[in-house]
Symmetry: C2
Subunit: 239 residues, 2 copies
């Protein structure tokens, strides 16, 4: 197994995550430290640290001197992740829209333009991530950034499925976010983030079902009350 040789522990986390999305690893399955270490040709220390990261991301269960297991990973779990990520993104969007920082808006404008022109999922994904990064740096403090980082493994990987399946919808949703931010409308910017992530979640979960990643009996509906809770962020009048 070839391996990115900087930040081994993150590479390990990415590797395990990929196998999760490939359907190789199922909920409750045990994670053999030594096996992973050997598969990747690294020591056990970075493997452990990678699993610690995944534990913090809610994807792995660990206990002192006990084996590590894959945490619950079904469509409801993925949906919850996107609900939370959408809620937090709505927060950052609100702040950025309220601040109206010209430098930030100009940077976002350039990205929006590039996103409109760009072709191909690779380029789109790269630009979209940069867009979100700029917004987060501008609108999130240390702790909010830390929370968002919790999803830095899962969300991009899942979002890629949505990009591959529905590039046009993704483009429109992201553009809507930009417009709201440019107009300095916090409520609209928050709502746009939530709508975008909800779209992404639906597409991603559909794709993952097709791939057989989720256990068969799993079929939680697309309109669970979690989204309504999250929507409270963007409802109500201006602050």
């Amino acid at each position: 197994m070839k391996l990115e040789r900087s930040n081994t522990s993150e590479a390990v986390a990415a590797y395990v995550l990929r196998r999760l999305f490939d359907g190789d690893l199922r909920s409750g399955q045990r994670l053999d430290l030594d096996a992973i270490a050997e598969e990747l040709g690294v020591s056990r220390v970075p493997v452990r640290e990678g699993l610690i990261q995944l534990e913090r991301d809610g994807l792995v269960e660990r206990a002192h001197y006990r084996r590590a297991f894959v945490a619950e990973f079904d469509d409801a779990t993925v949906r919850e992740a996107f609900e939370l990520y959408g809620m937090l993104s709505a927060l950052t969007n609100r702040r950025v829209a309220r601040r109206r920082d010209p430098a930030v808006l100009e940077a976002l404008g350039k990205l929006d333009e590039a996103l409109a022109r760009c072709d191909g999922p690779d380029e789109f994904e790269s630009l979209a991530r940069e867009f979100r990064r700029v917004v987060n740096v501008a609108g999130a403090g240390n702790h909010l950034r830390a929370l968002l980082r919790t999803f830095s493994g899962l969300v991009p990987v899942a979002a890629r499925f949505s990009i591959d399946d529905a590039l046009a919808d993704e483009r429109a949703a992201l553009h809507a976010e930009y417009v709201a931010l440019r107009d300095g409308d916090p409520a609209a910017a928050g709502a746009a983030a939530l709508a975008h992530l909800r779209l992404t979640a639906d597409n991603a979960i559909r794709a993952l079902r097709r791939r057989g990643v989720f256990p068969p009996g799993d079929r939680s509906d697309t309109d669970d009350p979690g989204w309504d809770d999250a929507a409270r962020i963007v409802e109500g009048s201006e602050t």
Copy 2:
């Protein structure tokens, strides 16, 4: 230095956090791995892993092959942490209130009773943490629990200051949460969580200022728009 000998890395994280709240460590200050390791009489591996955890919590800045530093830590940062924690707690409260699980409500009822009777900050703190734990287990999925865990270091330590300073207010705020949960009123339960954490944040920040933990010029006001953003979760009609 004496040290709890299970989960060394967590003990390290707790130790660094304590020194942060004691004012020994300031923003931007470098964290010497070897020094900490020697102070605690442990190796460098668990120290590094402890700092990795604090990095994930937004309290430490780290980069590949670069020294570790204390992240920004001022009253605005602490307030943001409580805003986010309050928002997430509001989410769990909403869910628990909607579910109306009799077993959960009974457990919470017992805790509420004990909280009404109990005397002394130690006992109150213990019961209050248990109360929150029960709610989180009942109302949060893997990812929401992971996000809440992000604050498992900072929030309890800071909250303790509020308990010491204003036990009566804390008791009232927590009881209000219980009442809303028992009545199955999601909106009220969410609002109560937010109000509670806002109270806690104000008290804690006041105490930390007294202790001289924050840099001197630091004086962000108590009514920043972040709370309003968070409040959007709990406003609006029932789902």
